[in-house]
Symmetry: C2
Subunit: 319 residues, 2 copies
């Protein structure tokens, strides 16, 4: 099978952890250990988040006295592709001696007129007081907004439309290479009026880019790996319970947190709707079981006869 796997940025650096390189490398080694059985049996394309990592670099860049203009988000995203791509590359090479592995710098095309650019929603970089935030907004052309009691910059999260380096990914995939690509959702670029690629100040949702990769590559399954074991109904309430087997229709009828599970559910539904194949959401350390359908949330185009009594079963699909 051909599999596309998305690793959450928080799976590489847990909330509250000191963002040292050693800690991130340790998490990457554990993540790769979980993916090795998949890489042995299947063609594997891996993409990854970069939230905590790009956040750190954004703050460093915005506060660097040597940089009158901090690096924009396309450049910061590229730096995190280098770093996390390196961690994953080395971990796969160590775990699978003799297996060809590649980490590709990748750009993701977004539309210059994507409505997200009119309504930026992603808080990024340092916190400021209101005066300083407004001053930086004027001086640097940033959009700034209140975030709780502080002020921060906001950037857009436009829809990924295409991964520019798709031909290279296909070439390497045909050659049996394990591919790490489009980290952080891909470096966001637009086309100018004369057709040239140009970086834009934005962040692209990595799960939506994973869906794009999986759809364009004709993947047999899309695995969205994170630090929670399944999509839950009533998340955070006493009645919370995991969804083990479901469909896009059933999921679309529910509401999930815009900040965490919502984008994953949307990404999984889009893949299943577009391809009729299966998507899974679950824990990074349970990747093989997730693929087998014995854990996590499985999204199928429709449920089989055995489950026709309910659109949402709470038992694993293989039982």
């Amino acid at each position: 099978m051909r599999l596309v796997v998305a690793l959450g940025g928080n799976a590489l650096l847990e909330r509250g952890e000191v963002p040292n390189a050693e800690i991130q490398e340790k998490h990457v080694v554990a993540a790769v250990e979980s993916l090795v059985p998949l890489a042995r049996d299947h063609d594997l394309v891996i993409t990854h988040g970069n939230g905590p990592q790009v956040g750190l670099l954004a703050i460093e860049s915005a506060t660097d006295p040597a940089l009158p203009h901090p690096y924009p988000f396309d450049v910061l995203g590229a730096q995190t592709q280098g770093m996390i791509g390196y961690f994953l590359l080395q971990a796969f090479e160590n775990a699978l001696p003799g297996q060809q592995v590649a980490s590709l710098i990748c750009q993701t095309l977004v539309a210059a007129d994507d409505p997200a650019f009119k309504h930026p929603t992603k808080f990024v970089g340092p916190v400021y007081d209101e005066n300083e935030a407004r001053r930086l907004g004027r001086v640097r052309g940033w959009e700034v907004r209140r975030d709780g009691t502080a002020w921060r910059r906001v950037v857009a999260s436009p829809e990924p439309q295409a991964v520019i380096e798709m031909p290279t990914i296909r070439t390497l995939l045909a050659d049996g290479t394990v591919i790490v690509c489009a980290g952080g959702g891909g470096i966001p670029v637009c086309r100018t009026a004369d057709g040239l690629l140009r970086g834009v100040e934005a962040v692209v949702d990595k799960d939506l880019t994973a869906t794009l990769l999986a759809t364009d590559l004709g993947a047999d399954a899309l695995l969205l790996l994170t630090d929670v074991s399944a999509v839950e109904l009533g998340f955070g309430t006493a009645a919370a319970h995991p969804i083990h087997h479901t469909t896009p229709v059933a999921l679309r009828a529910k509401t999930f947190s815009a900040g965490s599970m919502g984008p994953k559910v949307d990404a999984a539904c889009r893949f299943v709707e577009a391809t009729g194949k299966r998507a899974m959401i679950g824990r990074l350390d349970a990747a093989a079981a997730l693929l087998e359908g014995t854990t996590g949330t499985i999204v199928d185009p429709e449920l089989g006869q055995s489950s026709s009594d309910s659109l949402i079963r709470s038992t694993p699909v293989t039982q």
Copy 2:
């Protein structure tokens, strides 16, 4: 022909320039313009320096209050591969629509017992006063040394032995892809006693890595591009004059600056000695003329009959 081209880090950010992203991108676009004629007619593998870029990130990382342990040099090098690899990738894609281009994260193997680790020579990161430098040396395990009136950290510059991702480079080269790889000399890694790759705190000379790439890939020529138009004898003196056509034997008999031209001369000689092919050293904006032999310094295994009167001619090879 198959060409390996090394771009100097200073060619991407000139001495004294503010290290904004826009300036670097402008230099990269100009560099790529110069390389486009070569890419049209030949197979092209490009590597690049990262001195100014890794210097900036090293200072940011060493002074980031969120990072008790600054990122080590393998990780910083990986970040610069992401950034500069992105600039080059986009510039080539814009200059050559329809041409497949790839930027690969690459590790360069060095020997754990390379003598360079006992005598580190590369000053890196911020300047400190002596007390602070010695304290950081103790706390962080850094080697520190006086650099003029200030103190700085020093890291080793070991010999590159192999580019780990060579099989991927070969696959893409066979497919006609323009390849950007092993930036900054490659991310320095050693093999542990149990054969695993592990990042090391070092910087690898990018011209020596270019030689390694060119030799291993069977390149027909190695171009070392920089901001000076040729290797000079008596550099910095009134008697300075450029060397247009020479041999490793002639060059090995002379002494060149260890900080700038020396490593390039050594890298060019090694390639010519190992392969019997030709290496060129010259200005980035004259890449095509350099390949034709009408400018810069051409290093041939031996000089032809027409120049048997002198080991070093001061006229271009094609005259």
